[in-house]
């Protein structure tokens, strides 16, 4: 009896986990907040997608953890998981019916119960025990399918859900393209995808992923077989195409999306700076926003007529702002030279907070503006062209990003870059190899601070004002999330991370209150599941891959002995 129970206990366990997750999502208000948006208009809403994804996730987990390899047990486990999850939701509904949960949990409203029970209260609640096990059954079958088919299903479903979520963004953009507008009307409605659009998208992506899984290898080996010069031209033409797209992007996207792009760009700048400190040199800096603040405030003080100290132009102030950033980077770096790991993190967090409190205080108000901040910062301009609108500031930020990417790329494999990486791997060994730790660390802090100050200066002229409240510890954490989710030490990773963590939430403004929740979750899940990031640096990928190889070897060794 117990033997049989061990076979399906994982189904019950993961089902409880799934119940916990879905109940949490409901009580945190996410279900209700997401219910406004439709993925497939009138058929499938975003809250249903959220719950379905959660159930599929735990169902897959249940299938994966099944100790027996027989497909029947896998299916039974995933089904059990779905039933248990549905049971937990049912329990929430019953409890919510008996006592007024809303006195404590503000989101436990009748609307939530309606949503959870498919619209008709207890009459339709039994549907739970059909829908949830179906989702988890799907997960179980997905687990049993061959990898290519599994990839096909996940890719096409992700694309459909993604397109549905981003329809606000995609529809107007496509509509601006004349002939594409009709296609857009066919695929999208005012809220979500149309039914035919969703199925067409699903089919197209399925075919593409299937073809890629069959032919992808041939394409890749074909690319590798090209002579080096051929590879080079191919790569450069790819980069040139990317540059052209980046250059005309704001003209296509319009004002709101350009604004989003500028914010992403600022985070790319900041992320690349922190990437040098954390990713290359391995110094976890949680007070990184301090240098951003220094850059922004230096620009404000030097340019703003409100304080009336200097009234320089933006371009005259910029070198001073960056220089000041470097000076502070080195100055704050000196005291923490001997610290490592978590002590360093806390000390830098302390520095960041000290600077914010100082800026906020009445004591330094005559110089720094106190809580009101500093306004009337002039816009940057070149030869009469003023960077005022988001579309124009975009070019300023793009130029900054190119500069910083270029410097990062050149530094990466330089002597200094290699010294940083050596230090990241093992400080003592690096020192023994003749690396001057003091100089190397201070250069890392200084370079990182310079990038951050540059970003701060652009930020100041973009908003034409600076406030201490926009310089809080959350910014440091956001930037850290960007580089960790993207992949530490990887330049494309920073860009991907910034787009995913900064761009996406800007597009989904109505869910802004869940932004930090999702950030926190993303950090934890990334660390548990994929510590090397979305687009890892080659060295790190190998490192984490190596461990897996070792584990496999260990397992086979154990099995053979």
């Amino acid at each position: 009896m117990t033997g049989v129970f061990t076979l399906w206990k994982h189904g019950v366990k993961t089902g409880l986990l799934g119940g916990l997750i879905t109940v949490l999502l409901s009580l945190m208000g996410m279900v209700q907040a997401f219910s406004e948006r439709q993925i497939v208009s009138g058929v499938f809403s975003m809250d249903q997608a959220l719950l379905a994804v959660a159930v599929v996730f735990v169902g897959y987990l249940a299938a994966k953890r099944t100790t027996s390899t027989t497909p029947l047990w896998v299916v039974i486990n995933s089904l059990t998981c779905g039933f248990v999850t549905a049971g937990m939701i049912m329990l929430l509904l019953v409890i919510g019916d008996l006592i007024n949960l809303r006195a404590v949990f503000i989101n436990a409203s009748p609307v939530l119960y309606q949503l959870l029970s498919f619209g008709h209260g207890f009459e339709s609640a039994p549907l739970l025990f059909v829908a949830y096990p179906l989702c988890s059954l799907f997960a179980g079958i997905l687990y049993l399918l061959p990898a290519a088919l599994r990839r096909m299903f996940t890719a096409s479903l992700t694309c459909v859900i993604g397109a549905g979520i981003l329809q606000d963004l995609l529809r107007p953009t496509l509509a601006a393209w004349g002939s594409l507008a009709e296609a857009a009307e066919w695929i999208f409605t005012a809220n979500g995808l149309t039914e035919q659009g969703a199925s067409a998208l699903f089919l197209v992506i399925s075919v593409v992923t299937l073809v890629w899984s069959l032919k992808g290898k041939a394409v890749r080996t074909g690319y590798k077989r090209l002579p080096p010069s051929g590879q080079k031209t191919l790569r450069w033409s790819g980069i040139a195409a990317l540059l052209v797209v980046l250059f005309i992007l704001p003209q296509i996207l319009g004002i709101f999306l350009s604004e989003v792009l500028t914010i992403v760009g600022l985070y790319v700048l900041l992320g690349l700076g922190l990437n040098i400190v954390v990713g290359y040199a391995g110094l976890l800096d949680l007070g990184y926003v301090a240098f951003f603040a220094i850059g922004a405030y230096a620009t404000a003080i030097l340019t703003s007529p409100e304080l009336g100290f200097f009234s320089l132009s933006f371009w005259e102030a910029l070198p001073f702002a960056v220089l000041l950033g470097v000076v502070f980077g080195v100055l704050l770096g000196i005291p923490v030279l001997k610290m490592r790991g978590d002590y360093l993190a806390i000390a830098t967090l302390g520095f960041g907070e000290i600077i914010r409190i100082m800026v906020l205080s009445d004591f330094l108000r005559p110089w720094l503006g106190g809580a009101q901040g500093i306004g009337k910062i002039p816009k940057a301009s070149i030869a009469g062209f003023e960077f005022g609108m988001p579309q124009e500031i975009y070019y300023l930020i793009l130029a900054g990003c190119f500069l910083v990417i270029f410097i990062s790329l050149r530094l990466k494999d330089s002597r200094l870059g290699r010294a940083w990486k050596a230090m990241r791997e093992d400080e003592d060994v690096a020192q023994a190899m003749g690396i001057n730790l003091v100089a190397t660390k201070l250069l890392a802090f200084g370079t990182g601070a310079a990038f951050s100050a540059l970003s701060g200066a652009i930020f100041a002229t973009k908003l034409t004002s600076v406030y201490p409240h926009s310089m809080n510890v959350m910014i440091s954490i956001n930037i850290l999330c960007v580089i960790i989710v993207g992949g530490m030490g990887s330049i494309p990773g920073v860009i991907v991370g910034a787009a995913a963590l900064v761009g996406l939430p800007e597009l989904l403004r109505e869910f802004a209150e869940y932004r930090l929740l999702v950030y926190g979750l993303a950090l934890v899940v990334m660390m548990l599941v994929r510590p090397e990031g979305l687009w890892p640096e080659a060295v790190r990928r190998r490192e984490f891959h190596e461990e897996e190889v070792d584990e496999n070897n260990g397992a086979t060794a154990k099995a053979s002995s």
């Binding site: 945190m28 002590y343 907070e353 000290i354 100082m358 009445d362 209150e513 929740l517 548990l528």
Partner: protein, 353 residues
């Protein structure tokens, strides 16, 4: 002996000494100027110290959690501040229900016990789940990874509770029995401050006795001494680590109610600042060292309470009280720089932090 000092002293050392001298100079000049001006009387200083003692004992209770977890896992449990927040925020609803039914007025003591129990239970549950879900799978990961996980968990928990209970401040019900002062030998002490100090002292004593006297406490100490050896001695290391989180969580939950009694409101972000300060306290006392954390907390509380008036007022700084958090952070940075082993000396070395 002084020969060759030129070789031994580096540029960075000089900068550090300069920083230390400058800060010492500011503190001394400020204190002398403040005392000279006679703006504050003995009565004021007494009030500051009692307030600092009450605040410091709360920090000390939270710091126990940081220090014990550091002892067993060698990691800073960044999410401990959210463990601290979760308890009183949940217990608020119990307290509010008691207040509305009038039960709080008729049986204040019983109500307080229930509120404490609810708060401690919640914090304990959160701490336990945190360890099970987020930290346990990372036992052998490189050092940065658990720290980043902890930061992520901290934000997740903050916004989870924001989602549960809403974004606003909630005012804790006032307990009539704790209103007003007592007078001893002509000195007025606010009743709630006495309660906070006494309760915190009791909790700390109970915790300390638990760690020192019981078998479980002994096992926890063994695990923080040497994980592998204690495993070989038949101690269930994972269970002891969970127990450590549970005890730390209970202390944080108790500290949370005391904090709510003192500052009379709860909020989902309330854990951040006390959390960092308690961490400072733990570092001050030498992280991993339980009596050190208590002393460090009380010391920090008092410095923070008298610091703005004593050090800064005399220098003519406007609104010195705004800089009270800066004093705590400067203390943190200074301790980390000049004496990372803490004022109590070291027990857990920071060899490869």
């Amino acid at each position: 002996m002084l020969k060759g000092w030129k070789e031994r002293v580096t540029g960075t050392d000089l900068v550090m000494w300069l920083i230390a001298a400058a800060i010492l100079g500011v503190v001394l000049a400020g204190s002398v100027a403040t005392l000279w001006s006679g703006r504050y009387e003995g009565r004021h200083w007494f009030d500051f110290i009692v307030f600092g003692l009450a605040q410091g004992s709360i920090y000390a209770l939270i710091a126990m959690g940081y220090t014990m977890v550091y002892g067993v896992l060698r990691m800073i449990n960044f999410a401990h501040s959210e463990v601290f927040m979760s308890g009183p925020y949940t217990a608020y609803y119990v307290a509010a229900a008691f207040y509305q039914s009038g039960f709080l007025e008729s049986h204040p003591f019983l109500c307080m016990v229930v509120v404490f129990l609810v708060s401690m239970a919640t914090s304990t549950l959160i701490a336990y789940l945190l360890e099970r879900i987020a930290y346990r799978p990372l036992r052998n990961a490189p050092r940065l990874i658990p720290l980043i996980t902890a930061i992520g968990a901290s934000f997740f928990l903050q916004y989870m509770f924001r989602g549960f209970y809403g974004p606003g401040f909630q005012a804790y019900p006032v307990i009539k029995a704790l209103e007003g002062p007592w007078t001893f030998w002509g000195l007025r002490i606010l009743k709630y401050q006495v309660l906070v100090i006494v309760a915190a002292a009791l909790f700390m004593y109970a915790l300390y006795a638990f760690i020192q006297r019981t078998r479980v406490g002994k096992a926890i100490r063994a695990v923080s001494e040497d994980k592998e050896a204690s495993y070989l001695m038949g101690i269930d290391v994972d269970k002891m680590i969970s127990t450590t989180f549970i005890i730390g969580g209970a202390a944080a939950g108790a500290a949370g109610v005391l904090y709510a009694i003192m500052f009379k409101q709860v909020h989902f972000f309330m854990g951040f600042i006390p959390g960092i300060k308690a961490f400072t306290a733990a570092v001050l006392g030498g992280i991993g060292n339980i009596p050190g954390a208590m002393l460090g907390g009380i010391f920090l509380g008092i410095i923070e309470s008298i610091g703005p008036s004593l050090f800064l007022d005399g220098l003519g700084i406007v609104a010195p009280y705004q800089l009270k958090d800066a004093i705590a952070f400067i203390m943190l940075v200074l301790v980390l720089i000049f004496r990372p082993t803490g004022i109590m000396g070291e027990r857990v070395a920071v060899k490869k932090a």
